[in-house]
């Protein structure tokens, strides 16, 4: 488990003693992993549940590569990311989720590199005392991961390799949280 004991924001624009610029320390219960390798769902659920008797709810989401997009047959994907910014962006999303709901453990795993049909791309797991917070936070994390975290998908079809465009529906989904 990652152990974040201290987290401070370094920026020349930071003003000391301004509450807006004080970063909230990431929880020790946060795991953020970017990897090429696959992950095992049951192992991830065990990490969320082990020695965690205070949380009654465990909500997990797993995104996979599907064989079609916009009417085209898809063979696979190549995923690129911006190392270090990705982790920072995902940590910001988790921090925002923790401000909105009381949550237990949070895991985000995102794979990069070449992925074939049916392979797992992303995992988000959230625990909380009752189901409402874990359901909402899991969806919130995925909605913002889609529009904020610096990952890019290149789709491989029989005839071409194409960088995907952002979906308007994803942008709108993230915007909906502003009205919550």
């Amino acid at each position: 488990m990652q152990d974040h004991t201290l987290f401070s924001k370094h920026s020349t624009s930071d003003t000391p003693n301004s509450s807006e610029n004080v970063a909230i320390a990431p929880s020790k219960a946060d795991r953020i992993i970017i990897q090429i390798e696959d992950f095992v769902l049951s192992d991830e659920i065990e990490i969320l549940e082990k020695n965690n008797d205070e949380d009654g709810a465990v909500v997990t989401f797993c995104g996979r590569v599907r064989n079609n997009n916009l009417g085209q047959k898809v063979k696979g994907l190549t995923l690129e990311h911006y190392p270090r910014m990705t982790e920072k962006s995902l940590q910001n999303i988790i921090t925002n989720a923790r401000k909105k709901w009381q949550l237990g453990r949070i895991t985000i795993i995102h794979r990069v590199g070449k992925l074939l049909i049916g392979e797992q791309i992303v995992f988000v797991g959230v625990t909380s005392k009752h189901r409402g917070n874990a359901f909402a936070a899991n969806e919130f994390i995925m909605d913002f991961l889609k529009v904020k975290a610096p990952f890019w998908k290149k789709e491989l079809t029989e005839t071409s390799e194409t960088w995907l465009s952002t979906k308007v529906s994803d942008t709108l989904k993230a915007q909906e949280w502003q009205h919550e």
Partner: protein, 82 residues
Amino acid sequence: MINVHFFAALREQLKCNEIKLNAASPITVKQAKQLLVEMHPNWQQFLLNNSLLTAVNHELVEEDYVVNLHDELAFFPPVTGG
């Protein structure tokens, strides 16, 4: 000196992962783009694309943000992960 990184479709369009920008003093993101276009005129059509996102030291910023010397500047298309 400002380190500039490019990602995904933009990296392929420019055929460049990373470039060093010689700047004597802090400059805005907009000025950094103009300097890059002066160095590589054929980059104009890609760098002046309005949908392009900019990050400085791993945080998203706007065109008027001031980039300090030794900052890490990055340009990339809208993200499509998940």
